[in-house]
């Protein structure tokens, strides 16, 4: 039988290569190479799921250290080869580029000759060609019978062409373009995926913003600033909220269940720079971001993603009580970021001698674990109007003072701030990806559901030759056309592939008639 894959057309890549351009072309025109590329991409993607991607690991450690400490040697190999940022690693993109080139080259190499061959196909084919088709039959017949079946085939929506006593009926030729349309979709999709590497098309950063703070948004290249006005964490409250009461049983079982994570925001645009280098900001918008309800501006979206479970202290206030007279002094407020050193309270002077933002006792000495004001402790000297000095170490659930001290330092209030983790994203490649994916699906549907069917009939010597071709599902072509052959009394065809094994030595060079 003839190999009808590309209409027996002369594939450029199957010719003997001559120049370097031809050699490279032929490499990418090889289906084998394309399949290898796909296999490598799949294996690479699979390995990329073994350990988490960089965007999902904790941010306290640099990634190389994290992968090493968490996963050992395999982790550091994983990191070194760029698996931690799979979709933007150079070799992954390299494979995608090669696959894209392979798809382009293979489509041109095969699609163009196929298109030309089908466009210029003759109605009258040789005996050898017709005998080479899967469905073939010969026997007695007249031109009148061919005229008759021509009408019948037209009724079945075949396009019928005549050349004297020869007939060609054809249907769904466009189904042959399915793979090429599909390739086009893939190429557009990959193009979109490649554009995601460029910040103009795709950005994705996590910004930690403490309540009251204003940060420059890296994703906008410093054009926009966001202020965290308030972070809200609401819990389901079956006792005080009627709506929530219906979940009372479930909440009892689960403990506290968060209902809402939300950050109220103010958006600023940078309009210039002050002399000291600080930005001049103009308020643009006020809004909030909740889980699944991003705050949108320009082409960006701000998602509520994380929050710090331990709020930081901004300031603490204290009262001073005179144990002898019962007099109270204060309150006075200590700003934790920029503390005053001394506080005058009606003749009594309080001096801040030391401040531990994250208090611990280490080797018997007061110390701080970190620079974050998570558990502040204060070392105060209190000087009475008479000039006597006492000392106090005061912190949360901590009050170290001499029993005989005249003054007692007491907490009078705190100001705290939560920190919200906001993900700022933009992605202009979605439309490209959607268009690519849609074209891809159209291509698949074309190739799957519209098989190309052709019927050739011609008089040969004293009888008639009948041949049929389809690229999919030959039995349905038989079901469609065999009754017509029978009605008109033309010779019945047989499926030649049905009982004969495809012979091993069938050369791929056999190209039918040229």
């Amino acid at each position: 039988m003839l190999d009808m894959k590309y209409e027996g057309a002369d594939l450029r890549s199957k010719r003997r290569p001559k120049s370097i351009i031809d050699r490279v072309w032929n490499f990418f025109a090889s289906v084998k190479v394309g399949l290898w590329l796909i296999a490598l991409i799949i294996v690479g993607s699979a390995i990329g799921t073994i350990f988490p991607q960089e965007m999902y690991i904790p941010q306290q450690l640099p990634p190389e250290q994290y992968y090493m400490e968490e996963y050992g040697t395999p982790g550091s190999i994983y990191y070194a080869l760029g698996f931690h940022n799979l979709y933007t690693s150079w070799w992954y993109i390299g494979l995608i580029v090669m696959l894209t080139l392979s798809l382009v080259v293979v489509s041109i190499d095969r699609g163009v000759p196929l298109y030309k061959a089908l466009k210029k196909q003759p109605v009258r084919r040789t005996e050898r060609f017709m005998k080479g088709q899967r469905l073939f039959g010969q026997g007695d017949g007249t031109e009148a019978q061919i005229d008759e079946i021509s009408v019948a085939l037209k009724k079945k929506r075949y396009t019928v062409k005549r050349d004297g006593d020869a007939l060609l009926a054809e249907k769904h030729r466009f189904g042959r373009w399915g793979p090429y349309v599909n390739h086009l979709g893939l190429v557009i999709f990959f193009l979109g995926a490649m554009l995601r590497v460029f910040p103009a098309f795709h950005t994705d950063t996590l910004e930690w913003v403490r309540e009251g703070d204003t940060v420059s948004l890296e994703a906008t290249d410093g054009e926009y600033y966001l202020r965290n006005d308030q972070f809200i964490l609401e819990m389901y409250d079956p006792e005080n909220n009627e709506e929530d009461a219906k979940f009372a049983a479930a909440i009892e079982k689960a403990g506290a269940v968060p209902k809402n994570y939300e950050t109220e925001l103010t958006l600023f645009k940078k309009t210039g720079t002050n002399e000291d280098g600080s930005p001049q900001l103009e308020q643009v918008d006020v809004g909030s971001t909740k889980v699944n309800h991003p705050f949108k501006f320009d082409k960006f979206e701000v998602y509520q993603e994380q929050y710090s479970s331990r709020p930081e202290f901004l300031s603490m206030s204290f009262m001073l009580a005179d144990k002898e007279t019962g007099d109270e002094y204060g309150p006075f407020k200590v700003d934790l970021e920029n503390p005053e050193k001394s506080y005058e309270l009606d003749g009594v002077t309080v001096t801040l001698k030391d401040l531990y933002p994250d208090f611990e006792v280490k080797d018997g000495q007061p110390n701080t674990k970190s620079p974050r004001a998570l558990n502040p402790a204060f070392f105060f000297n209190v000087e009475s109007p008479e000039g006597e000095t006492e000392s106090n170490l005061i912190g949360i659930r901590l009050n170290v003072a001499d029993e005989e001290n005249r003054y007692d330092v007491q907490f009078a209030g705190t100001e705290m701030a939560s920190t919200s983790g906001l993900r700022v994203k933009s992605d202009s490649t979605y439309p490209i990806l959607i268009v690519g994916a849609t074209i891809f699906m159209i291509g698949i549907a074309m190739g799957m559901y519209w098989p190309h069917r052709r019927v050739w009939i011609r008089r040969h010597e004293e009888g008639v030759l009948v041949a049929g071709f389809t690229n999919k599902n030959p039995s349905s072509l038989r079901r469609e056309v065999s009754p017509l052959l029978e009605q008109t009394g033309l010779p019945m065809w047989e499926d030649q592939a049905r009982f004969t094994e495809k012979s091993e030595n069938e050369s791929t060079d056999e190209r039918g008639e040229s």
Binding site: V97, L101, D354, D358, K369
Partner: protein, 193 residues
């Protein structure tokens, strides 16, 4: 027209067609591979642009005041041969241990033309002042205040202590994370020259 001439004509046409085809093949492959190369270059660009200063980067400029508030230091105004830029905190145990070592060798460093700047990150001057007094060693090298953690952010600091080796042109030669011993300190100072 003779038969030979016709044959020549056809040959010429075939050659022209082939040239045209080669040209288009070349164009298509060049366009795709060029686009790919630009994309890959961009990924490299971004990998090096994660906000952390590493060897090979230029040292970002900053202006910081010393702990006692007396002197302003600006990175780009530095005129010595090399610089060791150190980041530390009072909560960091190795930082505490390396400070006397640096003090001991500071005079030698200065003779070499290398200065040592120590920036403390995100802490109050009060705490740092107490910490240095408790250390029991007078420090001659500049202790710079980065109370707002701005310089820490610009250099992308994760671990303390960390020491950047910076040459006379302001390029980072090496980033060393960990406690400085005398040997390490001298080794880094040599590298900065």
């Amino acid at each position: 027209m003779t038969k030979d001439q016709q044959k020549d004509d056809r040959m010429e046409q075939a050659v022209a067609k082939k040239k045209k085809r080669s040209f288009w093949r070349m164009m298509i492959m060049t366009v795709v591979l060029f686009a790919g190369a630009v994309t890959i270059m961009q990924t490299f660009d971004q990998a090096g642009n994660d906000g952390r200063i590493e060897a090979g980067d230029e040292a970002p400029n900053f202006k910081l005041v010393t702990l006692d508030g007396s002197t302003l230091y600006e990175r780009d105004n530095y005129e010595g041969k090399g610089m060791l830029l150190n980041f530390w905190g009072t909560f960091c145990e190795p930082c505490k241990k390396e400070m006397p070592v640096v003090q001991e060798n500071y005079a030698t460093l200065q003779d070499m033309g290398v200065d040592f700047w120590a920036v403390f990150v995100g802490e109050t001057p009060l705490r740092v002042d107490n910490f240095i007094n408790d250390l029991g060693v007078g420090l001659d090298y500049p202790i710079l205040m980065d109370t707002q953690s701005e310089v820490e952010g610009a250099y992308g600091i994760y671990n303390l202590p960390v020491t950047f080796v910076i040459d006379g042109e302001g390029n980072v030669i090496e980033k060393y994370e960990g406690e400085l011993t005398k040997e390490k300190l001298m080794e880094l100072a040599e590298k900065s020259l």
